[in-house]
Symmetry: C2
């Protein structure tokens, strides 16, 4: 069965996350309903199960269909059916070995802190704070998160069956972008709530409420105050990267 | 009684407009409820009664209060009480002769057409179109709106008591801003629905569905097809201007 890849973006505010949940408006459920309206009954799989309220600029999904429509037309067809808070940026045909979740090489997330004047147009997309933040201390703390660590202290109660809490973060950075501070992380995969807890720890360091050295102690499993969980609205899945060659998909 | 001026901004999507309406969430009602939570029972008056779904970057309001709190603190106090889609940008003390509505010299509105790739983050703030638009024709048509005209063809059924439909538009322009087209108008005052109908006429000209010369015929009261009304979501009140000197307020 031919497989279609969808690159999508969404304002997650009015979604109960990506994953399908009965009775709730979810990104996956919304996509599957739009497909159903075109006569296609298919499961839609995504690279990342973003939290309720979190956003995506570059989520990647796939589904299988016998519908012979040229693959690039799906974007337009689905956009005409979808609500304005989720958009298909691109649709294309992929081989049967492409899996949006398992072939992803890495995922790039951004957490936005709004430090400037109040702005009702960014309130859905950034966490606003009045506090003055120490950008240098935040950047130092961010560097200590980089690399391969056990991120157990940065996740919620573990789902049964999840016991490996070691993850690789290739790049962790903090930078000022106009009147915002962006905390950005690129890694293979993330534990549930991990980005919002890492952002919380960095925020605590920035406002002087946490010793930057305590991040390393959290990673070492020492008994240190756990980080605050920042609201999902500041979080965006920026991009999911795949290999250039088909065989990279297996890595 | 001391008078406070509030400069506010809002994402109008989830408001039934500025004006108070029983049982509906409105900008004015929301502000008055926030004031009430601080113990202040006051009417809030605004420069412009924006439509349901329309936005403001620079709406101006005023209210009277005996509360002795320094005027500039109201912004912070109200922002802590208000939902994130409406923000007080600034609060300050004004004289008793300042009236946010009647002292306004002019109002600046913007209508945004999104012509680029689909974008879920701007779907609330711009009207998206797939059509290719003739920017030069739109700019020519815009110029014919400038000046003093009878805008009866650009408003909805008149409220009883409203019979003067002549308005002065100081500046009417169309320009490309990245992947958007902005239709911007500065004028003393606007009739109900007038911005969305002018934007509709300009949009029709841009997509080749209306002769640019028909704009002048609409203004002359000739029997010409009335313009389409574009959705409120593309409309933003950008700024309200007041005189530099108190006496200018009366002009």
């Amino acid at each position: 069965v031919p497989r279609i890849r969808l690159d999508i973006a969404y304002d997650g505010t009015d979604f109960s996350g990506f994953a399908r949940q009965p009775g709730l408006r979810t990104v996956r459920g919304t996509l599957e309903e739009a497909l159903e309206a075109t006569g296609v009954q298919a499961d839609v799989w995504g690279a990342s199960r973003t939290d309720a309220g979190a956003h995506a600029e570059g989520q990647v999904c796939h589904f299988d269909t016998e519908n012979p429509m040229p693959a690039d037309r799906w974007a337009r067809v689905l956009n005409d059916l979808l609500a304005l808070d989720v958009r298909v940026l691109r649709s294309r045909s992929v081989g049967p070995d492409f899996d949006s979740r398992f072939c992803a090489i890495d995922r790039h997330y951004r957490y936005r802190l709004l430090c400037g004047a109040p702005d009702p147009f960014r309130g859905r997309f950034a966490y606003a704070t009045h506090r003055s933040l120490d950008l240098d201390a935040m950047a130092r703390a961010a560097r200590s998160l980089q690399g391969r660590h056990d991120f157990r202290a940065f996740t919620e109660e573990l789902d049964p069956g999840v016991d490996n809490t070691v993850r690789d973060l290739f790049s962790v950075s903090v930078r000022a972008v106009r009147d915002e501070i962006w905390f950005e992380v690129v890694g293979t995969a993330f534990l549930r709530g991990m980005m919002r807890r890492m952002a919380g720890a960095i925020f605590e360091v920035g406002r002087g409420a946490r010793d930057p050295a305590s991040i390393a102690r959290l990673l070492a499993g020492e008994a240190v105050t756990l980080p605050v969980v920042l609201p999902a609205r500041g979080l965006t899945l920026v991009r999911v990267r795949y290999g250039r060659h088909p065989r990279d998909h297996r890595s």
